[in-house]
């Protein structure tokens, strides 16, 4: 699909690592990813696709020093910016994509939107808190030299689920 291609192109431009998968192979692909990356403990937002997984490793809803990565399902993707959209009902919903060094986001392909406009036209009211995430956190405050991993994640990985 053209929209998905544009989205992936923008994600890559934003230094996001992209994997394409399907409903049936998501679980297996994720477990393999955890194994390959040495990820043993994952801080999750237990909602949507995340709840349907059967991981080989430990999932936790509490953040601590031993967490290797954060996992959440993004509510939408924006092809225009290669951005992930997270809707949060409470501040704690925002933490898995924020606190760990690695953030893994799951995204249903059907939730990829062309542009921001579509999002704001379709979002339910009263509004939840909305966060757009465009790649790993970064700074260029020292001599304009780009450093990835400022206060948030150093790596962002997206699994697009067809």
């Amino acid at each position: 699909m053209e929209r998905t291609e544009k989205f992936i192109e923008e994600l890559k431009r934003n230094d996001v690592e992209v994997y394409l998968t399907s409903r049936s192979s998501l679980n297996e692909d994720l477990n393999e990813f955890f194994k390959k990356q040495g990820i043993k403990r994952v801080f999750v937002r237990p909602r949507g696709l995340v709840n349907q997984l059967s991981p080989d490793i430990e999932f936790t809803e509490k953040f601590d020093e031993d967490v290797d990565a954060g996992l959440s399902e993004a509510d939408f993707g924006i092809a225009y910016s290669g951005g992930l959209v997270e809707l949060a009902e409470s501040p704690s919903d925002k933490l898995p994509s924020l606190l760990p060094d690695i953030h893994i986001a799951l995204l249903k392909e059907s939730n990829i939107l062309d542009d921001f406009d579509v999002l704001f036209e379709n979002i339910p009211h009263p509004l939840p808190d909305i966060t757009f995430i465009v790649g790993p956190s970064k700074t260029a405050d020292i001599e304009k030299i780009l450093v990835k991993g400022a206060h948030g994640p150093r790596r962002v990985i997206v699994f697009i689920v067809r």
Partner: protein
Amino acid sequence: MKKINFYENARKILSNPTVVEAVQKATMHALEKRRQTIARIPDFEELRDKARTAKEEILRDFDGYLEKFKENARKNGFVIHEAGDAREAREIILQIFKERNVKLAVSSKSMTQEEIEINPFLEAHGIKKYETDLGEFIIQIAHQKPSHITAPAIHLTRREIARLFNEKLGMEYTEEPEELTKFARNYLRKKYFEADAGMSGANFLIADTGSFVVVENEGNARMSTTLPPLHVAVTGIEKLIPSIKDLPVFLKILAPSSTGQHQTVYTNIFSQASKDHEVHIVLIENGRRRMLNDPVLREALMCIRCGGCSNVCPIFQLVGGHAYGSVYSGPIGIIWTYAIFGPDVAKELPFASTLCGACYEICPVRINIPRILLELRRRVIERTGGKLEEKALVGLWSQLMTKPVLNKLGFHLASKIQGIFKKDDKLTHLPFVFSNWTKWKDIEPFPGKSFRELWKERKNS
């Protein structure tokens, strides 16, 4: 505030080649990135027009939109405070903190907080507030002021930052930006968890949903507004936009105009509060209503604080933000400083411009900055009476131009006696009040024949 000595500040900065070089590098970098990014946004000019239209709509019914924002924000559970000036704003924030026994606060970057000078005030009342944006954090431990709206520490080299971290924070000496960033990350991580309150500014206040928006790259604003149980956002009332449907347009022009990014890494739209996570918004007037009622200054209220006009300004590129002696620097900063801190403080600033128009050309909401600067010059001159040599010349000029006899006589006189002020066929040392001109530049001499004479000859031949 005392009168800002722009020329004195500029002279000091120009004697420091590292600062001049750093500012030049940073501004050029942002401009080049902007150019590349805009090439990928085919409808960029259209987006600028749409943003301008939305801001014009706000100015058309400012009070209506402000009321609408407040009403909707309260529905979201936000507590609204209104401060007429900086002192009131500081008292309000202190009161919020005192009632909740706040001892430690973390904050993301906010020029409005700088404007009301909240940090020393809180410190004096026993409340420690950490700046968490890397640039602001560096500035805070260096006890300096930001030198650029979006890149507060651009005037410092990595060597200076390394020394600072080593001396003030006990970090092992290294000039590696990556290591310095990591150190700041770990240092501030603890503070987010310990903090009793988080503070932020706001880039946009959305009237039809009562939401507010904070954009950032580092994740420090997300941390500051998520982890502590209390979030206090400090913002000027001019950040209003009519509808959340206008937000895409602004998000599409802000980052490209500012850092040259396509989008910032994080855009945070806040619309919720709860008992466990209070959200307070401190709306600051501090001179903005005066701007609103001023037919010339009001256009500056459309500013979205991208800093693009600073990057492109030939004066700013040379001297950087500190020369302006105010939290708001660069071309638009002159106007804001004049409006907020008054004409006596800012009387030198409107002249710190070449009026070349580059700021107008780059401004994403098309604020006619040179026109406003010109008007501010007029006002300053009206107040101070202007410079003696300018008055003398303009007076002489108007006499010579309106009276043909004087014109003829004056020209002949000038072309006869100019010889004694000439060197290498240029006027290099004019006398009396005119000497201030030739101190800095040479002037072309009067030609042998006047225009009137040449014209006559042409007609006769």
